[in-house]
């Protein structure tokens, strides 16, 4: 924090603050209500993820990936197992791929629900948050049905899955989708078109396309700025190539492209696209197929490196793995989408009012577990 002038005041938002989405500390320089400078301080949730990974076997890394982005554990598992499988050249059967996609898309909806709800909370709307948590709960029920866990699943394994789908899962998922699809319109009516909500988010914290690209922002935040970039389309992994879905981008429906409202609305649209994918995946889910078929006896990838990225609910989630031929990764690096999203905050939030800064922070939908790792 540079020089603090006479009228200015340095304010610490966090690490214990209701709007920091975890243990983040933002040091902001304010002049009255206007914020002129924001410095995020990280590390309050640092658990040495990458160092841990150098000391445990490949399969033992999976529970650690759960704990990085704890709101989207399935997609974290997914990214890691895809990377290790690419390193070992393992092909999994169709049923496993389908189940993985179903889980990942359910997780995307769950994560977006919480992200949107928390954003609503940041601008003072309490009720949508609880409505969204109520629906997220039903997704967690589906996960619990499958693998017994509701938050940290350890579900996707290298070469397969921990459990097959339980009896009745497909029907329950269909039921959930039928229930959830009209609920999205309810959210839209309750919050997205609410006059006060629009006033609070439209034209606020605009992230221009160049800024987003130069900072390496990915995921819904990048798409809200008008860049059509989705790894499920641009660099397809798993079986995403075989599904039909659109990549929603921000169009500045209420203000200008890349504002907080766009970042909110892109996530709403993405939930709809996820439902499309889910319906296709459930319809084409193969009945036969052993989910443990391709699980290797020993996970000893050949010497070499790999960087594999997948589309998590927050953006490009990349795993760089360096193998020295043993059963323990020599080096593992995780590219966190939330980290890059947070790094842009000073660029887009400086000059706005204190309330706007917290709305902008909420619109980036960061998870501190993934930022600090």
């Amino acid at each position: 924090m540079g020089v603090v002038h006479g009228q200015e005041m340095v304010l610490n938002i966090g690490p214990q603050h209701p709007a920091t989405h975890g243990v983040l500390r933002l040091q902001v320089k304010t002049d009255g209500e206007v914020v002129s400078e924001i410095t995020p301080y990280l590390g309050y949730l640092h658990r040495c993820f990458e160092k841990h990974c150098e000391n445990v076997t490949y399969e033992q890394v999976i529970p650690y990936t759960d704990r990085c982005d704890y709101l989207a554990s399935m997609t974290n598992n997914f990214g890691y197992v895809v990377a290790v499988e690419a390193l070992m050249d393992i092909k999994v059967n169709d049923r496993v791929e389908h189940i993985r996609v179903i889980m990942a898309e359910l997780q995307r909806i769950a994560s977006h629900l919480l992200g949107l709800g928390a954003f609503g909370l940041d601008v003072g709307a309490f009720t949508p948050f609880l409505h969204m948590l109520r629906d997220r709960e039903r997704i967690l029920d589906l996960f619990e049905m499958t693998c017994g866990a509701r938050l940290l699943y350890n579900y996707m394994w290298v070469g397969g899955l921990s459990h097959d789908l339980p009896v009745g899962f497909v029907e329950s998922t269909y039921n959930f989708l039928d229930y959830f699809e009209p609920k999205i319109d309810e959210f839209v009516n309750l919050l997205v078109h609410n006059k006060i909500f629009v006033e609070r988010t439209a034209d606020i914290g605009r992230m221009p396309q160049e800024v987003a690209v130069s900072y390496g922002v990915t995921g819904p935040n990048l798409r809200a700025s008008g860049v059509k970039w989705d790894l499920r389309k641009n660099d397809p992994y798993s079986i995403y190539k075989s599904f039909e879905f659109d990549v929603p981008v921000g169009e500045g429906g209420k203000g200008s492209v890349g504002d907080c409202w766009d970042r909110f609305y892109v996530r709403v649209l993405e939930m709809k696209e996820s439902i499309k994918i889910l319906r296709q995946a459930l319809a084409s889910l193969p009945k036969e197929g052993d989910i443990h078929q391709s699980i290797p006896k020993k996970i000893r990838p050949p010497k070499g490196t790999i960087y594999k990225r997948t589309e998590s609910p927050r953006g490009d989630l990349g795993y760089y793995i360096e193998s020295d031929g043993t059963n323990i990764p020599y080096r593992l690096k995780m590219r966190s989408p939330a980290f890059t999203a947070l790094s842009v905050i000073d660029e887009i939030a400086a000059g706005w009012l204190l309330s706007d800064v917290l709305a902008i922070l909420g619109s980036l939908d960061i998870v501190l577990g993934e930022i600090d790792r």
């Binding site: 709007a19 940041d122 309330s355």
Partner: protein, 358 residues
């Protein structure tokens, strides 16, 4: 007038004490204690209502329980009691760097501001503590005491969040008093009186004689008053002074236990006062909506209470539905929307009253 009535009664039954001022003090104390008890009970009821209404809106069950064990009582009825007991038994923390005197004074100041308004609220034809001839003006005036208390609380806490909250609330309450006052002026124009009882007497004779339906300008004034009242009581969408996602808890950040409870209590007391003013000024006060039907004094209390309860329900409803405004938008709404509309409204009402007046 209640104080005089009790004073006469005491003089009659205790003639030995008359003349030394003791009985007058006593006569003033009794209605105050009754009012205090009323506010406490009312706060418990409205906290319960808030919990249950919010649960209904948010698709959850709210406080639940069976019997009177260590649960929250039947239907969670004892939940507000449990909350109150928890606040009472909490450790009383005063921050080391706080200004002790002001810090202790602030919760009482804010409660006084809410409490003294109650004396001018008519609950029935003869149920009013002090029938002031400037009743409505008095309530608007003492309502502003809250600002001083909020600034005291924010400043004395020696906390940046508290300071932000205090500054916001000072700006907000002072600003919103103007549209609130302006919309009440229309009522005064029509009735020609500042006396609460006379305003109610003007609206005698059923629902269509209420001031709300007096002329087409009044509903606008009513809406402006009600929204300004939300702002004055720091309710959503105007809860910026204590917006939990921005300012932690605003001016009450450093308060805990009983002192916090007093802020809480006075917020609910203020809600009651503004609803009572709205009910009196626009909705006929303690008059029955149907002329000559159920309009005995006992029913008068029922009618004003149900009108107030309805308005408070709307406040709770709004609170759990809409997001919060930003501080500059709040000021814009006040100065650029409500004030011009309110002023035009006054002219409209005045012309209407002169041309077509009663």
């Amino acid at each position: 007038m209640t104080v005089d009535f009790i004073f006469d009664l005491l003089n009659q039954f205790l003639p030995g004490f008359s003349g030394n001022g003791f009985l007058l003090l006593f006569a003033m104390l009794i209605p105050c204690l009754i009012l205090f008890g009323f506010i406490a009970v009312y706060a418990l009821v409205v906290i319960y209502a808030e919990l249950k209404v919010s649960s209904f809106i948010q698709d959850k069950v709210g406080p639940m329980g069976q019997g009177f064990g260590f649960h929250a009582g039947k239907w969670g009825l004892l939940q507000p009691v449990a909350d109150a007991l928890k606040l009472l038994t909490k450790e009383d923390i005063i921050p080391g760097s706080a200004n002790r005197v002001l810090f202790i004074m602030a919760p009482f100041m804010i409660f006084i501001g809410a409490f003294v308004s109650f004396v001018a609220i008519p609950f029935g034809e003869s149920i009013i503590v002090a029938d002031l001839n400037i009743g409505i003006f008095y309530i608007l005036g003492v309502g502003s005491l809250a600002v001083i208390a909020l600034i005291l609380a924010g400043w004395s806490s020696n906390n940046k969040w508290s300071l932000y909250g205090a500054m916001r609330s000072a700006a907000q309450i002072v600003s919103y008093e103007i549209p609130a006052g302006i919309s009440l002026i229309t009522v005064i124009i029509i009735t020609g009186s500042l006396n609460m009882q006379e305003i109610i007497a003007y609206q005698q004779g059923g629902i269509f004689n209420w001031i709300l339906f007096d002329n087409p300008f009044i509903p606008v004034a009513f809406v402006i008053y009600f929204i300004s009242a939300l702002a004055e009581t720091n309710r959503t969408p105007f809860d910026l002074p204590e917006s939990e996602s921005e300012l932690v808890a605003g001016f009450v950040t450093e308060y805990s236990g009983m002192r916090y409870a007093f802020f809480f209590l006075s917020e609910y007391a203020n809600m009651f006062v503004v609803s009572a003013v709205a009910a009196t000024g626009f909705l006929g006060g303690w008059q029955s909506p149907i002329s000559g039907y159920l309009d005995s004094p006992g029913w008068g209390v029922f009618w004003i209470m149900s009108k107030i309860a309805f308005l408070i329900f709307i406040m709770i409803w709004i609170r759990w539905t809409v997001p919060r405004l930003r501080v500059d938008q709040l000021m814009n709404v006040c100065w650029k929307v409500f004030l011009p509309i309110g002023l035009i409204n006054i002219f409209g009402v005045a012309i209407w009253t002169v041309l077509l007046g009663s």
